[in-house]
Each structure stands twice: as structure tokens, then as C-alpha cells.
């Protein structure tokens, strides 16, 4: 089945107190049951008022803001702090972001990004009657590869990780370790129509496997426990 990735146009500038579901419902978007709606962290953080004042000429203050948002520092290099957030995400500068925010303000990650996704999903259900999945996406670097990609930091109504262990492959061999992080793949796909310099903070991914539409959580499914990983 063909998958479609549809940018949602007509989302206005988001300000604290806005409800993302209302903005999507009022936009040009037409939702169908089974769609996955991907919303960038930046507008979710703005709507939730997760903004902090920053002084661009004060790198020490900026660094303190990053530390306040972190539970652990893994690496430092120059201005870059690679830290663990309270959600368990490992990312640059604890996800604190200065771009696409009014000058003098930084956007912080949502306090509970799975809950942010659930709130948008519930709001869309109430406004449109549609059963959709929602992914809150953010832009992360990778340890071993150059360039950033979008990943899921919150999910609702669509699987984060699909467990194919025990399935057989096309030759009848049992697949051993194939837990696919479909939420990150959907977030990455959505980024392809959003761009970074264009104001498209929402996209619809239409045509995903219906069996993926279920309760889910990035925290429970994607965040790797420290004991499980090889580099902490």
C-alpha cells in the first residue's frame, strides 16, 4: 500500500495557551481514521508555554538552562553539551532550542511528551471524530552519523516500536531481533515535507499498517534503560 506524507498548511504562529488540536482542526487538514499526525516539538512547547528567557550574549546562562533541563551530562565539546533529559532522551543541549523562537526566548522540551501527544490525539478525536495516531517529533543528532534526523519524542495511538520477533521472513526463517522503531521512521518521513526553514510544523502520514494503531509510549518503548546500553 502506498503511503502519503502530506504537509499541513494554514497553521498560524503558535503562542502559549493555544491548543494544537484546535489549530489543526481549523487548518486545511482533512483527517481520516488511521492517519498519523506528526507535530514538531517546537509548536508543542510553545503551546504549552515551555519557553525560557535567554540572553544571546550570555553563554553561561544558556549553559545553565541546559543543565537545568538535564539529569546527566554525557559529553562536552565546545558549546555542545550532550546530556540525558528527565525523559531519558540523550540529545544535544537537552533539546533546548533557540531557532524558530522569538528572539530572547528558548523552547524547552515538553515536560511529558507522551502526554502532549495524547492531549493532541484526544483533542483531534473530540474536534473531528477521527481516530488518529499522534507523534510529537524533534530533531536529534546521531552518535556515529553526520546530519540530524527527526525522531519521535511522544506518541499516542500509534505504536512506537513494532516487535517482529518470532515472525518468519520471506524465506520462512525465524526473524531474531527485529524490533522496528516505526515511530522514528514516521517522524523522519514527516520531516521530508516540513523542511527547517519553512513554517510547516504539522504533517499527516496516511496509509500506515492498521495493526500499528494502538496505545503506545516513547518513554516505555523507545527510551533505552541505562543498564541496556553500551555507552553510558
Amino acid at each position: 500500500m502506498t503511503l502519503s506524507i502530506i504537509p499541513v498548511l494554514g497553521i498560524p504562529e503558535v503562542t502559549p495557551g493555544d491548543r494544537i488540536a484546535d489549530l489543526i482542526a481549523a487548518s486545511d487538514a482533512v483527517l481520516l481514521d488511521g492517519d498519523v499526525v506528526v507535530v514538531t516539538q517546537k509548536v508543542v512547547s510553545k503551546a504549552e508555554g515551555r519557553l525560557a528567557p535567554v540572553d544571546a550574549s550570555d553563554p553561561v546562562g544558556h549553559k545553565q538552562l541546559v543543565l537545568d533541563e538535564s539529569v546527566r551530562v554525557l559529553r562536552r565539546r565546545g558549546d555542545l553539551l550532550l546530556t540525558e533529559t528527565r525523559h531519558g532522551f540523550i540529545c544535544a543541549n537537552a533539546g533546548v532550542d533557540l531557532s524558530n523562537v522569538e528572539r530572547g526566548w528558548a523552547a524547552l522540551l515538553p515536560l511529558d511528551s507522551d502526554r502532549s501527544a495524547r492531549r493532541i490525539r484526544d483533542g483531534l478525536r473530540a474536534r473531528t471524530g477521527r481516530e488518529v495516531g499522534v507523534i510529537v517529533s524533534d530533531t536529534f543528532g546521531r552518535t556515529w552519523r553526520r546530519g540530524v534526523t527527526d525522531v519521535a519524542i511522544g506518541t499516542a495511538g500509534v505504536a512506537a516500536v513494532v516487535d517482529l520477533r518470532g515472525s518468519t521472513d520471506a524465506l520462512g526463517r525465524e526473524l531474531k531481533v527485529t524490533e522496528v522503531c516505526v515511530a522514528d521512521e514516521i517522524a523522519a518521513a514527516a520531516e521530508l515535507v516540513m523542511g527547517k526553514a519553512t513554517a510547516v510544523p504539522v504533517a499527516i502520514v496516511r496509509g500506515v499498517d492498521p495493526s500499528w494503531m494502538r496505545d503506545s509510549s516513547v518513554r516505555d518503548e523507545i527510551v533505552r534503560a541505562p543498564a541496556e546500553d553500551l555507552f553510558r
Copy 2:
């Protein structure tokens, strides 16, 4: 612009000596200029004869095969070796894969996966007259996140990393570090229609930004030099 991810049906079982471009040209696929054709590593390796005999009851032999394909071992845990391949990829078991291969055989990574992509691109141009991009994809784990996703291990005719440094965001602020790895995002998007247990080794991604269609290389653009990374 809406993006479409189209699975290519009708690709037969691939055997050494097959030409992937010929198989795609003979399939149900209809290519347009500007399409990106994503081909999984498994069929590329099979076509290129990158297969090695393995004895499932001989884990020592399997481990030796992985070491032979590696230039460096980063971590070991249980059966898992996290190694650096000669391409510079950091991945589990040097990309040596037992699934979807005939029993008794393992698929090794292509010797030069960028060249594999170029060969398919050139073959498709010759067979169809279309100017397309080609991405050879493989399934990698991530340091800090559970679940695997597909990434690009070879590219031709479509950018690996798009550099948005110096662009301005929607509020006119200069974007500082926004090198987006679109090739990995396209590979991830394609995986969503391929599945792991289904025999769909090729997908078409239609509608990517035309400015991304250019000469490219995973090795030059995505592979992070050891001096640049924080964990080697």
C-alpha cells in the same frame, strides 16, 4: 508538496549476477524523473554475490566472519559485536545478516555501497531514460534508542546530507547547525512500506525537493570521522 512512498511489487528472488536495475525495470514500477528508488542492502548484496557460507551450529565461525568484515571492535555483549566496517559504518555484527538469506549463507555488506547505488542509478537511466536518485538502505540500531530503523548505506543522484547552515528560519533567525540527513530519512520512510517479513525490497519515494537531486556519497557526507565523534 505531498510525498508518496510506493512499494515496488514483482521483484523476483535475487541471485548472484542479477542486475538490480534490470529487475526494477522489468517489475510493475513506473519511474518518473526525480523519483528516489530505495533498494535494501540484502538484495544488493545477493546480486553482487556478497554471500558467505555459515554453519548455524558454529558461533565461533560466525564471529570470525564478523571480525573479517570489521576494522575495529567498539563493544561486545553476548553474541553482539558492535564494530566499525571498512566503510566506516558503526553497526551490529558488521552488517553480516542471516535473515532473508538461504539457510547456510550470510549476506555481507556490499564492498562499496555508494558504487552499488551508482550502478543501479546508471542502469535505471539506461533502461528507462529516467533521472532518478538511488539509495541502498540497511537496518541499524541506535546507541540511545530501542528499535532499529533503516538508514542509507549508499547514495547516488540524491543528497545524503542537506546543509541548511546559513539559511534563515521562519522568523528570520539564522539557523546555526541544521545539516539534515535526508538520505536516512528517505530510507526510513521507505521501510514503512517494505516491512521485514514481506518480500518488498524496493520502494519509490516520489516528490522530494528537486534541489536534493545531485551527486552524493554516504561515505563522504554521512560517515563521521573518528576525530569528530564523541564516543570512539
